[in-house]
Symmetry: C2
Subunit: 192 residues, 2 copies
């Protein structure tokens, strides 16, 4: 925390544990912004897909959406470019302590990651077990291995421990998932 | 057009010139779908960015957005992967017959295309002069040349004629812009 000169942390307000409970999406947005600002990668979260039904045009600038619906996303949430490669991933949180329920991902999102890999892109999943405060990187090859070999509707935490990489919380970038991409795809050093 | 068996086109309704006036977005969505179905490329339009303010949750499945606003997009509208390369472009229509007004593109969208190129991706602009029914592909390198060398607020049609590539209307894919990517980036044959 940076406090302005001369200021001290004297507040008796409840201590914020918000960083710990911060949503995965929030952490990834901060990470991607850091990557962009430092010019390491250009990766964005896609907007939430919405079907817009009714719009009030008070003026051209002040259009207000009055009726809309959430659409099922066709693809994953995040994509962009890193070291000349196309990057594509989905990020999900679960409060479950032992399993990641596959109902969290749509089948066509898994298909999408498969196609991305076939076309020479880099695809993966970032899963946070939020009650355990554990975040894992699972390469799409491992995800596909699992879905091909198992009919189970959830991936056990032990599978992530064995086939994934843990992403540790840091200050900046908050979740350095590209270090794992370096390791897997660019022969980078071991990641801790 | 396919008509159900036994049916003939006997309607005297006005002939549909809709294909001609079909929006560029519609044509590009059809093109990208064709590319995906034929497994040539995985390219999607991003959802329209919206700030959602109020949502009615009648049930978990039937959430209705009751108040929302359009956001300025941070990036371009289309991206994906083709021949292992990251593809990124913006598509715009103008009714102007001689110029493409640069007010149609946000400055940060041009910056975005520049960064994509620096990171080894393929970026471009697709512009349709809708009253002339002319569609052009303009590589980001040429777009940046123009914005660097001119303080003008619009790109003349002649610049597209000289530095761009015309995309001809076809049946399938409707606007084969990847043929131009082949030509510029992969040493493909001349495109007509």
């Amino acid at each position: 925390m940076n406090y302005p000169a001369g200021m001290k942390k004297t507040t008796t307000a409840p201590i914020q544990y918000s960083n710990r409970g911060m949503s995965l999406e929030h952490d990834l947005n901060a990470t991607n912004e850091y990557y962009r600002v430092t010019n390491r990668a250009i990766i964005y979260k896609k907007p939430t897909p919405v079907t817009i039904v009714k719009v009030d045009y008070k003026s051209r600038r002040d259009a207000v959406i009055k009726e809309g619906y959430f659409k099922t996303p066709s693809t994953t949430d995040y994509n962009g470019i890193y070291r000349g490669k196309y990057i594509d991933f989905e990020a999900k949180e679960t409060r479950n302590k032992r399993f990641f329920p596959l109902s969290n991902i749509h089948v066509h999102q898994i298909d999408h990651l498969k196609k991305i890999t076939e076309h020479g892109g880099i695809g993966f999943l970032i899963v946070r077990f939020s009650t355990l405060n554990l975040t894992y990187f699972l390469d799409s090859s491992k995800l596909l291995t699992f879905t091909n070999e198992h009919t189970r509707s959830s991936i056990p935490l032990t599978f992530f421990e064995e086939h994934g990489y843990r992403i540790y919380d840091k200050f900046n970038p908050r979740l350095d998932y590209l270090a794992i991409v370096d390791l897997i795809y660019f022969g980078g050093k071991s990641y801790e």
